[in-house]
Symmetry: C2
């Protein structure tokens, strides 16, 4: 959306402003929470006029949404570099090596790293907290930020169904929650430690079940 | 704790005050959120002096913690009545009929009802949201409110291990998250609808696994 509005006259200077605005928005929401974050506060911290922000985004929710999308792009680029990819390479799919357990464990370990990253943690918590009590905002952020990531699991589980590694009657959108939601709840609600052993265990339990085979 | 402090001189009148204070605390946190809820505000809404509150509880976190424990006692009593029990009967265990899947489905269906109860929803969301950004408060409420409920699943899964219905190498504290956390995340983050079919499906997937048997 922002790209479309600014692409014709995009300049290096406006890119710098945009990045400063994202950084200010993420820092501010982490410090004072969503309700007290204002366009004026973001503008002042970013060193731009508030009209600059209003020209690009209709509301603070929109600024924050794009700031998070940008943050998550950066995390994906870093992950791609870590896996020997190049900086511009987005992670648009979960690897499919033919070993479903190994592929899921790899991606969940990367999620653990991301959840522990301080640049990500404070603003993400502030936004998640607001989403719990503000259903409209919560749904909007889930649709734009979380659901596209969950779709990657749906795709990987579908491919596992085709390979015969997941039962054909399983609904992949529910199935992914068996390993994604426990990690999310531990992180959100501080109900337990998160780590690689833990997410590896979730994958094993989900794939092979709790009942004896 | 409050019981110990007031038991010797507990009167019908102080019980009424206590109930009024709980109701005021839950209503206020639902309306204005945790940060803006104050002892003064609770006292004024409950029609008691703030010294009455300070005599019984050291902080607003303590008032709210006990108000929630009381709310959850009431919900458990109602559930016991619904199951043909009596009003004073607390639900201290998950039923053990020998059919693990049926027992888990029954309890998760009751949890769905509780999550949808308006008396429970608004204050619970306000508190859960604060717990996401306020780790000390979050951990305290999890330890007193959530973890005792999760212990009931641990006990039921241990008994299932003894009966040979759950593999002996499974850690019950992690295993329960496969069906509890997906429901929690859908409720907290509005990531999907909750209902009986959904929780039944979680139990089936968790017990029998996603991989073919």
């Amino acid at each position: 959306m922002a790209q479309n509005q600014t692409a014709p006259d995009a300049t290096r200077r406006s890119e710098r402003s945009r990045r400063a605005i994202y950084d200010a928005a993420l820092a501010l929401v982490a410090e004072v929470g969503y309700p007290k974050t204002t366009i004026e506060g973001i503008a002042s911290r970013a060193g731009v006029g508030k009209q600059t922000i209003y020209r690009w985004w209709p509301s603070k929710a929109d600024v924050l949404l794009e700031a998070f999308l940008d943050l998550s792009d950066q995390a994906a680029e870093e992950a791609a570099r870590g896996q020997g990819g190049t900086a511009g390479q987005r992670q648009y799919a979960i690897p499919d090596t033919g070993d479903l357990a190994a592929d899921l464990k790899l991606v969940l370990r990367a999620t653990v790293d991301e959840l522990r990253d301080p640049a990500f943690e404070a603003p993400s918590r502030a936004l998640a907290a607001e989403g719990v009590v503000n259903e409209e905002l919560g749904r909007r952020f889930v649709a734009r930020l979380l659901e596209p990531q969950l779709r990657l699991y749906v795709d990987r589980l579908r491919s596992a169904q085709e390979a015969g590694d997941v039962r054909p009657d399983i609904d992949p959108r529910i199935a992914l929650e068996l390993f994604v939601s426990p990690l999310a709840q531990r992180w959100l609600q501080h109900t337990g430690p998160i780590g690689y052993d833990y997410t590896d265990t979730l994958v094993e339990y989900a794939l092979y079940g709790l009942a004896p085979r």
